[in-house]
């Protein structure tokens, strides 16, 4: 059956979340098999030049709304535009990356279009009469296959689950501007301020992750300043340990992860938590430093291609899931490991 696929390009202040292009690649693959067509949807302010980029990544058509009302992340007016684009293009399938904004808009689109939504999809089979989506549940401890009986089907896909298409500067397509017709203050919410953070590498998009656990605070050769109490001394030591994790991550262009134990102990902020109550990730390489491997942590990272475990306890459960194990103190191993990788990567 011919499929029309609308793929949402998630951007903030002109910067695209990289997984958006994976959605266009997926859309193009489905369209090619079904003789269908693809459209990209780009909403924001000052985003005209992204239209061409979307076409290069596989869109036949671009729906675009460029308006001050859509500048920051206010879900309500953005969702109104998703609905407008859906009514215009009449897609069978709408794809969103599983980012903060993507998930939000997918949920709202499903309400507005009175249809089902399937989130965090990691595999999609469109060969039969109905599209079968596979998604992890219980943070990946189990998998579920899902089908949806209404159209358009709304899907969010997990970053890195589908291939990123190579941009082809030779592709051409059409751009349709959507009329916004909303005054900036017609929207109930207002953005008072924005605190952009130093982003580093996003865990969900990272191909390499270096993570630290409770062990980062256990450097036997480090003495915390005497004026700190026990808890503060622990955090002080952990910060030094995480600096070593950070050095390795920098050398590899990796994102920094953490176990729940490390986050709960105040060693690092929650943004970095990997696991059942944190982020579920599946990088090509996951290096676990001083992480014993609680089931909640394993759930969040066990689908990584290659796991390296560094732990001084040879009986730590993490070793059962690791391709390579290094038994020893992470504080002794990380600095020479960083140096060895640097000299290899410099070659």
């Amino acid at each position: 059956m011919t499929k029309k696929i609308l793929a949402y390009v998630d951007q903030f202040h002109g910067k695209v979340q990289p997984s958006s292009w994976e959605g266009l690649g997926l859309a193009a693959a489905i369209a090619e098999d079904s003789g269908g067509e693809t459209a990209a949807l780009i909403l924001g302010e000052g985003i005209q030049e992204l239209a061409e980029e979307a076409i290069h990544h596989g869109a036949d058509q671009v729906f675009l709304a460029d308006d001050p009302v859509l500048k920051d992340f206010r879900p309500e007016p953005l969702a109104d535009m998703v609905k407008k684009a859906a009514e215009s293009f009449q897609p069978d399938l709408i794809l969103f990356p599983s980012t903060t904004r993507g998930r939000t808009l997918a949920g709202m689109a499903a309400v507005d279009l009175n249809t089902g939504v399937m989130v965090d999809v990691i595999d999609l089979d469109w060969s039969g009469d109905e599209i079968v989506a596979t998604r992890p549940i219980y943070a990946g401890k189990l998998l579920a296959k899902l089908v949806c009986s209404t159209t358009p089907e709304v899907i969010t896909f997990r970053p890195r689950a589908f291939d990123k298409p190579e941009p082809d500067a030779g592709r051409s397509g059409t751009v349709t501007e959507l009329e916004v017709a909303l005054e900036p203050d017609a929207v109930a919410t207002a953005i008072a301020s924005i605190q952009e953070k130093d982003q580093g590498v996003n865990l969900s998009d990272a191909s390499i992750i270096v993570s630290g656990g409770r062990g980062v605070a256990l450097n036997p050769n480090l003495e915390a300043p005497a004026d700190l109490d026990e808890e503060a001394a622990d955090v002080w030591k952990a910060e030094k340990g995480f600096a070593l994790v950070g050095d390795l991550a920098d050398a590899l262009g990796a994102a920094i992860g953490a176990s729940r134990a490390a986050v709960d102990a105040g060693y690092i902020i929650y943004d970095h938590q990997v696991g059942q109550t944190g982020k579920v990730v599946s990088p090509d390489l996951y290096i676990a430093c001083g992480i014993s491997g609680a089931i909640q942590h394993l759930a969040g990272m066990r689908s990584s291609q290659v796991i390296v475990a560094i732990n001084k306890d040879p009986d730590a459960p993490i070793f059962n899931f690791a391709r390579f194990g290094l038994v020893g103190d992470l504080h002794a191993i990380l600095p020479p490991l960083t140096e060895a990788l640097k000299s290899y990567l410099d070659q």
Partner: protein, 259 residues
Amino acid sequence: MKIIVCVKQVPDTAATMTVENGVISWGDAPLIINPWDEYAVEAALNLVADHGGDVTALCLGKEEETEAIKHALAMGADAAVMVSDPALKGVDNLSASKVLAAAIEKIGDADLVLFGQQSVDTDTGLLPVQVARVLGWPSLTLVSKIENVAADDGNIQVLRSMEEGGQVVDAPLPAVMSVTKDYGEPRYPSFMGIRKASKAEYPVWSLGDLGIEAPTSAVSWPEVMEPEEKEIITEIIPGDTPEEKAQNLVEKLIAEKVL
């Protein structure tokens, strides 16, 4: 302020999940309140402590799934409502959000509806978005900090997280909000709270009580399965010194084309 906190019962996060004859099992692991919902209850209790009002825990589930409600009451919620109906078996997100929205309207006069950021079972995080959209209220997801509340003027200011950082958002009440772990540690239920919760009575509403028909769910799960176990042969990297181990690991990673 009148606050409704939506809570859910889930298997303990330490549970080993299996599928037996197509049915999900968590063995003999305990059932608990969805850990993320505790942050929402904590936020609700702090808000009414500062601004007055009351907190109602709302749970959609089977009548015997009392763990989440009991925990919220033990933490200090003033009242609870359970929505339970055989027709809700296998309900999808959209339908669940319509049912919750109807329950929120029946409870009435809510200034704020709070959720945890997602549940640890199905992990969708969609309900705080979809309930808001059904009610036509602002959706404030992934709130890590409540900056300011002007309950009398009907406004709230919150810090929301997103990939690029945070956004401070002003929104009119009523609104729907989901709360992240960054909000702050939830309190432990007190002994008195646990005793009170164990004796608490609360209404159980059917769809008929809500005045709505059984919603038809668009999304179904024809199959659940355990992920294929990857066969992992763990290789312990040899070396007499950390330097040697580090060098050996790098060589292994290169040999297996990981780098």
